[in-house]
Amino acid sequence: MTTPSTTSSRWRALTHHHLFWPVAVLVLLLLVNVPFTPDFFSVRMADGHLYGSLVSIVLFGSPLILVAVGMTLVIATGGIDLSVGAVVAITGALACSYISDRSDQGALSGVLLAMGLGLLAAVVCGLWNGFLVARMGIQPIIATLIIMVAGRGVAQLITDGQIITVNSEPYKLIGGGYWLTLPFSIFVVAAVVAVTVALTRRTALGLLVEAVGGNAEASRLVGIRSRRIKIMVYAFCALCAGIAGLMISSNTSAADGNNAGLWIELDAILAVVIGGTSLLGGRFSVGGTVVGALVIQTLTTTIYTIGVPTQTNLVFKAAVVIVVCLLQSPKFRAKVFGARFGAGSGARGSGKQAAAPADPAAASEAAPKMEVS
């Protein structure tokens, strides 16, 4: 009788996959909604657009996914980027104030220029962060704290402390428009995730990032130009935050220097951790991060659908996050569920497993999931 053993070994392989627990939590959270909203999983067509809770989760989660994907690479080098929220605000402020100054706000060229300007500012912020961390040797948490604090000031300076509203059809598309029946944001996110996976796994960038994060001294002695790599990931992270900034301001057709992207850095870090990338650096998983971001967005949606009172929102969120983090801990799993999930998967926790995140297929599998799930 070989069947039971193969089944159990398949089950084993499945539970030991690096995406198993994040996906399990996501599915669980989605199911929790069903008793409260029986048509939670239904997607209907209206005006040539797809509507439904699942579509909304991906749509509203898009900025977080973008920021978290950039954050993943920074964290993989052993760093952290607290400035992404401020970069979101700066990018949105720059783009909107440029558009609002034009006589024809709907002109495509003006909108493209505005977006380019915003993203350029974002990349400059990232290069500054990278310079401080890699060249000046400042601890990442301090180096990025500078723009986290000062960047909001810059954003308010750009908008004169006002909320700038724009009325531009082309600009509305990126965060609030539809294409092929789906929100346009979803395509942007899919493209960024695909580019990130290609950039890290089709080139050697992912390997070198993991080496730098996994053992900095060994990487130096092996001749990896780790400064260059660090500057690149901070710039890339800021670029992702910039795109998220465009998306958020486009969605509301307004730039709010004060509140756009507020605390998004913390949600992004959380998404990375839920996705199974260690804050100590080393192995990273872009696919895991996408799932992690979806978990956080689903949680936010769930809080509304099951009607948790507003004032206990944060407490509820915190409680769920604690449970998710405990589930991620091999030690905890070994204690609670016994050896089946725990002992063997200790490997997962300490190693973030060889086969798993290194495989680009695994990561890109997660990307389409955004549309389906």
């Binding site: 089709r202 080139t203 050697a204 960038l205 390997l207 070198l208 993991e210 080496a211 996994g214 053992n215 001294e217 060994a218 990487s219 130096r220 002695l221 092996v222 001749g223 990896i224 130009r225 790599i229 080393g282 192995r283 300490s350 190693g351 973030k352 060889a354 086969a355 290194a358």
Partner: protein, 514 residues
């Protein structure tokens, strides 16, 4: 002269770790008012003995007698309370606090739960004065150089006998100094020695560990030699010369160990590959000249801490030299970072496989291709087919087990990890391969394989700089032997039938040029 009663006696000490007997039946005694050296090569059991004495490890057998009464030392705190104080190689103090605070940290004089700052400073000043040190106790520790910090650490350890309430306790009877001089310069060493002599004259028994033979002969009265966890002997320093000591430490009588080595020498006298002129680094190694020929194997011999690793690191740009220059293949190389050396064809396998070599959570394959990939840059990944073929080839050639490129390297045995590191550099086809203790901590079979590999690489024209603790190993493989002593390259000896380990030992012990 009637010997006084020892203040400390350790008898029949046994300490076992899984699979290893670190100390077997070791006797050790320490008299009041003496400076006693504990000697032995790496792994001889020195630090295990100290850790047993200071309560870090528990005893597996034997007894410890302090002042004539048997004691059980269960923890470092109990050791301190019994009057045994230790100062380690790295200064374990808080640089941001004042000298006085550091001296009394954790046992500040208090009244009613509040620290009596005035009293603390006064007591600290008294202690420092009594020892003849000129230190302002209210200045932050970081304002003093490392040597003074070391002295403060000693002062602190002397104060440990005093009770928290300020009452006088038993005071320090035994002071253990574990490699206190390794990062001090000559003047600083003299200052430390002055303090040690003063304490000795006050009746403190000092246990001194140092890899510098000259320092042992300068300051110590008596020494105990360990080898492979057993006691080799206890001698008055004046009764045992340096050659005799080195023999005891390495366990070879000079006459006995000839003729074992077979030379696979061939006249590899190619053209010059690398030329170092006056290359040196303060605190690392004194300026040296070294020529490495194509296909030549240069072995470095010397005791631990003699500067072998420091020399190798300079040739790789792992540390930046502050004097001299390096020419490789006729062109001067700046050596400001490992990249410069790697680009010039130098490869370096560190003796610290874990901290400086492997990325433990990456796979065997990823670790192997890391150096090659780093030199290609991130934009040009090695094509998967070529990569897998290279990795498979080296896994097979070096017999890496398990032969699974997907295995996490952190889980491999020491010998296989070493082979992964070798493979990493071999696929870059270097001109000079620097191997720092490549056979340390690996089993005998893997050892032999690595040595054979060195010979065949050299025959193919690769130059190798080979560092090993075992002289036979160095002698068997090298065309030329560089002898180091006290961070100085003291001799270069062309290997030949007449060169024996005893000859090398003599050079290490005497430190004289040929």
């Amino acid at each position: 002269m009637a010997e006084p009663r020892p203040v400390l006696e350790m008898t029949g000490i046994v300490k076992e770790f899984p699979g290893v007997r670190a100390l077997s039946d070791v006797d050790f005694r320490l008299f009041p008012g003496e400076i006693h050296a504990l000697m032995g090569e790496n792994g001889a059991g020195k630090s295990t003995l100290i850790k047993v004495l200071t309560g870090v490890y528990s005893l597996d057998g034997g007894t410890i007698t302090l002042d004539g009464t048997a004691v059980r030392i269960g923890s470092p705190l109990e050791a301190q309370q019994a009057g045994i104080s230790t100062v380690y190689q790295e200064v374990n103090l808080c640089p941001n606090l004042s000298v006085a605070e550091n001296i009394f940290i954790g046992r500040e004089p208090t009244r009613g739960g509040r620290i009596q700052w005035k009293r603390l400073r006064r007591r600290a000043a008294e202690l420092v004065d009594r020892l003849g040190l000129d230190i302002d106790v209210s200045a932050p520790l970081s304002s003093y150089p490392l040597a003074v910090q070391q002295l403060v650490a000693i002062v602190r350890s002397l104060g440990t006998g005093e009770g928290a309430g300020g009452g006088e306790g038993p005071g320090t009877k035994v002071l253990i100094l574990d490699e206190p001089t390794s990062s001090l310069d000559r003047d600083e060493v003299l200052r430390l020695f002055a303090l040690m002599r003063r304490l000795r004259d006050e009746g403190v028994a000092i246990l001194f560990v140092s890899h510098f033979l000259d320092q042992i002969y300068e300051v110590c009265d008596r020494m105990t030699v360990l080898r492979n966890g057993t006691l080799v002997g206890e001698h008055l320093v004046r009764d045992l010369d340096q050659v005799g000591l080195v023999q005891l430490m390495l366990g070879k009588a000079m006459g006995q160990l000839d003729e074992l080595h077979e030379h696979q020498l061939h006249s590899g006298a190619g053209e010059t590959l690398l030329q170092a002129d006056g290359l040196g680094r303060t605190g690392g190694i004194a300026p040296f000249d070294l020529e490495i020929k194509k296909g030549e194997v240069i072995g470095l011999a010397g005791l631990l801490g003699s500067g072998r690793t420091e020399l190798a690191r300079l040739l790789f740009g792992a540390d930046q030299p502050d004097s001299g220059k390096v020419t490789i293949g006729g062109e001067q190389v700046s050596m400001s970072a490992p990249n410069d050396a790697i680009d010039a064809g130098v490869a370096f396998c560190s003796e610290n496989r874990k901290s400086e070599g492997l990325v433990p959570e990456l796979t065997v394959r990823e670790n192997i291709i890391l150096a090659l990939q780093a030199s290609r840059g991130w934009t040009r990944p090695i094509p998967a087919a070529q990569r897998d073929e290279l990795v498979a080839k080296y896994i097979k050639a070096l017999d890496i087990r398990p032969a699974d490129p997907e295995a996490r390297v952190g889980r491999l045995s020491g010998g296989n990890q070493q082979k992964v590191l070798l493979a990493r550099w071999l696929i870059t086809s270097p001109k000079l391969l620097i191997l720092d203790e490549p056979t340390r901590g690996i089993d005998i079979g893997a050892k032999a394989e690595i040595q054979k590999l060195v010979v065949s690489l050299s025959e193919d024209g690769m130059s190798v700089l080979y560092i090993a603790a075992e002289l036979e190993e160095v002698l068997r493989l090298s065309h030329t032997i560089g002898v180091l002593r006290d961070r100085r390259l003291v001799a270069r000896i062309a290997n030949g039938p007449e060169i024996t380990t005893s000859r090398i030992l003599e050079t290490i012990a005497s430190g004289e040029h040929q």
